[in-house]
Symmetry: C2
Subunit: 383 residues, 2 copies
């Protein structure tokens, strides 16, 4: 969808005109009351569910949660996924042409915030003729967008599902983002963010950024369970790779070669990510995370800040998520209860760390399913 009227941004800048990529699933009912907006996190897009024709491996990033008969049932709900501005998966972003200069934006793409994304999503809904959402749903950074929807457009959101999220980043969260950004920005191939013209990609920095990210997505427990102190050679030997020497399982005593399986995993994840993710997008999205802080305008008082929200809420957190710990979700729950809002909260005892919000835990998916069933009943009960 192309938008020709400028979008004013929180920074004071604006985007003169821009595109938003989006996908929809299911049917909008006659009352236009069954729309659910799904917001994405760092490394995801508008492609939330299903596969593209002839591409059996193109499952959407939340395909286990969204689809016909799934917890968010597209036989009942009209689901909308929107790629956020500044991303590298279709919507206008740093690798597109700045209409003011005729050059690729690069590092000149304006800083966008969670609030800006929500405004852009709201404009898209206007065009689609959807005034009120049955629900907004998101995990992690997507949960921040969901929370922001209830504050920026309280009358347009009936239910908010805020999963594995937080009311803002802690100093430690910001610190991890900053190290990742420094790795990218100080990569000689970054060229101040104008690497497209140079024909380079700051892959070294992107790899480091992704490796750091991966560590924070997983719990210590699940890392020990999946990798522990297993040596790479031992794993290859188990897989009966004929090229593995008889020394399998012995230390190589090397500082630069892969020794442990966890190293192999992280290097692989870093390499893969550096092939497709845009460095400027990484900076923009991590900054949007850093800046999000609805209590900031209220002297840090989250209860005051959430007073504007009128939606009903489901919050879900995961016990081993140390990136966005249950404590942070409980802060939101408390602030909503201080405002006497309708809040359900599930704290799932899951071993998978932050990644748990993308995985299939039957207690988790069961809670989401039940919540959407109750939303459906309330829709049917409407005049």
């Amino acid at each position: 969808m192309h938008f020709v009227s400028a979008l004013p941004l929180q920074s004071g800048a604006s985007l003169r005109d821009y595109d938003l990529s989006f996908e929809t699933y299911g049917q909008l009912n006659a009352a236009k009351s069954n729309a659910v907006l799904v917001c994405h996190a760092l490394n995801a897009s508008h492609h939330v569910a299903g596969v593209y024709e002839g591409q059996p491996k193109s499952e959407g990033w939340w395909d286990n949660m969204i689809g016909p008969g799934k917890p968010l049932d597209t036989n009942q709900f009209f689901v909308i996924g929107v790629n956020n501005l500044g991303s590298c998966f279709g919507s206008t972003g740093p690798m597109h042409i700045n209409p003011d200069t005729g050059q690729v934006y690069g590092a000149d793409f304006p800083v966008v915030t969670v609030e800006d994304w929500v405004n852009a999503q709201a404009r898209l809904l206007d065009v689609l003729g959807i005034q009120t959402l049955a629900a907004v749903m998101g995990g992690s950074l997507g949960g921040m967008q969901t929370l922001s929807w209830t504050l920026q457009y309280p009358q347009r959101v009936r239910h908010a599902l805020v999963i594995a999220s937080a009311p803002n980043l802690t100093a430690e969260n910001i610190a991890f983002n900053e190290v990742a950004r420094r790795a990218i920005v100080t990569d000689p191939d970054f060229h101040g963010g104008h690497f497209y013209q140079r024909g380079t990609i700051p892959k070294r920095g992107l790899r480091i950024a992704r490796m750091i990210g991966h560590i924070t997505y997983l719990s210590d427990d699940v890392m020990n369970e999946k990798f522990g102190r297993q040596l790479r050679t031992a794993v290859l030997a188990q897989a009966q790779d004929a090229s593995v020497s008889l020394d399998a399982g012995q230390y190589k005593y090397s500082t630069q070669e892969v020794e442990f399986q966890i190293e192999s995993y992280l290097r692989y994840q870093g390499d893969k990510f550096a092939e497709y993710f845009d460095a400027n997008t990484y900076l923009l999205i991590t900054r949007a995370l850093d800046y999000f802080d609805p209590a900031r305008a209220y002297g840090g008082d989250l209860s005051l800040a959430l007073g504007r929200a009128t939606a009903k809420f489901l919050l879900v957190s995961f016990t081993t998520d140390w990136r966005f710990s249950p404590k942070r979700s409980r802060e939101i729950v408390k602030a909503l209860l201080d405002n006497k809002r309708d809040v359900s909260y599930a704290e799932i005892d899951a071993p998978h760390g932050h990644d748990a919000f993308l995985l299939d835990d039957p207690r988790y998916t069961g809670v989401v399913r039940s919540y959407f069933e109750s939303i459906l009943q309330s829709l049917e009960g409407q005049p």
Copy 2:
């Protein structure tokens, strides 16, 4: 101290000849029974206490713990600090000349392990005429050396003080080390570890490595308390820096500039470290951490592995240390108790994360002081 006989290493390589830098404090008694060896961690040296003449800011890294009248009282004990092989603070390391080639070692410096360091320390004690240590003491990686002393030279150690340490690294620990190493190794100025000849220093990588390290040394709580979400401009304005604009406390909306105070702190720490620390040393020391695993030769059974130890033990851990958590110290305590060893264990409720072992917590320093007092009494009670 120069050593002319080759030191065989665990890897199978050996160091033909080498120097060890060391310092001593206090007086060795006539019975040579009051010697205490203090082992250092990643970013430290043989200079454990005191200041150099005319250099009032040159305090040793454990100066709060070691000195006249301090918990480890140098009026009573003869304290020895040794710089480990591969370090960049005096002992033979990667920036020294390889006698076999006449060239700087660089990346060709052999991989050294905790066990190798202990062997080198034992040789130094031989030359000093010290057969038995009243105690070995160390925090973090220094605690690993302490534990290894009790296994490699059980008859030479009466007491072992293992502080904020672990019986091996977890997958997450190794993962953080690996990201830091990749940042260094992929820095174009690293040149495969032979950067000395090129006149370059891989400062970008060292900065990233140090920033990652710092995050893991601190607890989430203490980071929130010290930095929280404070903006750099607000901190500067509080310090009444005249160059700060009226926008102090407002977001700059920038992805590359310093916005939050935690970013400023981490960048400063990274810059400082990159000025003095050697990149090859960083690789070697983190690898020594990765490889340490006394239970490995016993099928992972730590109780079997620690059966060789005959020393008495004090273990100390800190509740908010997520790098070497109390759980890891308790594993050592349990394994020692399985062998019916004499073990004291203090789990200190401290907010400072892994860094706590270097800080002044009166409950912590009090425990160490009492332990050394009891060692002193046992020495005096000796024939």
